[in-house]
């Protein structure tokens, strides 16, 4: 059981690294759309990997803990991208200003073509 705990601990520190780097990107990036990539790093690499790591650490002694924690991770995997998609669609519809260096915006082009 020591092996599972060691693997879980290593994964947990990897998840913490991802969460901190994602938070740093949330501060550094210039507009909403680019910041959402950093938020994805935070919720996927940070939260899901940490939950899975803790599930491995606790599941060595207690299988029901493993199952419930994996269920929590599954719900985060389902809901996090959907919320991100909904909020970015709303931001694009309400014309939040994009960064000056944006390369292209096909969605706005198509909307203007349709009138």
């Amino acid at each position: 059981m020591m092996v599972l705990e060691a693997v879980g601990l290593a994964l947990l520190f990897l998840g913490l690294f991802c969460a901190n780097v994602g938070a740093l990107g949330l501060v550094r990036f210039p507009d909403v759309f680019i910041r959402s990539h950093a938020a994805t790093v935070m919720s996927m690499g940070g939260a899901v990997v940490s939950i899975f790591a803790v599930a491995l650490m606790g599941g060595a002694h207690n299988p029901s803990f493993f199952v419930k924690a994996c269920l929590t991770a599954l719900i985060v995997i389902f809901t996090s991208p959907t919320g991100s998609h909904a909020i970015l669609r709303a931001a694009h519809k309400s014309r939040v200003k994009m960064w000056e260096g944006t390369f292209c915006d096909m969605l706005r082009e198509d909307e203007e073509k349709d009138g």
């Binding site: 719900i75 389902f78 809901t79 959907t82 998609h85 909904a86 669609r89 198509d110 909307e111 349709d114 009138g115």
Partner: protein
């Protein structure tokens, strides 16, 4: 999709995910209500979670879809039913010769820590779940209709 009248509800992604998540939330609320005497939680929390599942469907599909499934008058009837169950549970204590709201064993007690170990508290939780969920839903319907008429 564009250039015509705006679609009812949100995009296909939100619709499909909420279609899968809302039944799971109903099952979780059943878990919370039925374990109300063993863990934190109970009738109120489970009822709020049922109302949240219906609000999720309301956000994703629009109010007409949800009103087709659970109508306004059905909500009122369900709410009254919950209140009636609470009243009957309260009177059961007097019927067994104790005071108002006394917890009595209307079914044989199981072993401690099981679901059937609480007496009439379980019935009370279920009645409160019905009352709270239907009340929240009716309140949301009221808010939505008031906003629509004003516009």
């Amino acid at each position: 999709m564009k250039g015509r009248k705006p679609q009812e509800g949100m995009t296909l992604i939100v619709k499909t995910v909420s279609r899968i998540l809302a039944p799971v939330m109903l099952l979780l609320s059943a878990y919370i209500v039925l374990h109300g005497h063993l863990t934190h939680g109970g009738g109120f929390q489970g009822g709020v979670l049922i109302a949240c599942a219906l609000v999720l469907l309301l956000l994703a599909f629009g109010v007409d879809y949800v009103e087709g499934k659970v109508s306004f008058s059905f909500g009122q009837v369900f709410r009254s039913l919950g209140a009636t169950i609470i009243l009957i549970t309260a009177l059961l204590g007097m019927a067994f010769g104790f005071w108002f709201f006394k917890n009595v064993g209307v079914y044989p007690y199981g072993f401690p820590g099981g679901i059937f170990s609480a007496g009439s508290l379980l019935l009370y939780n279920i009645g409160e779940m019905a009352n709270v969920s239907a009340s929240f839903l009716v309140a949301f319907y009221f808010l939505v209709k008031f906003r629509r008429r004003k516009r």
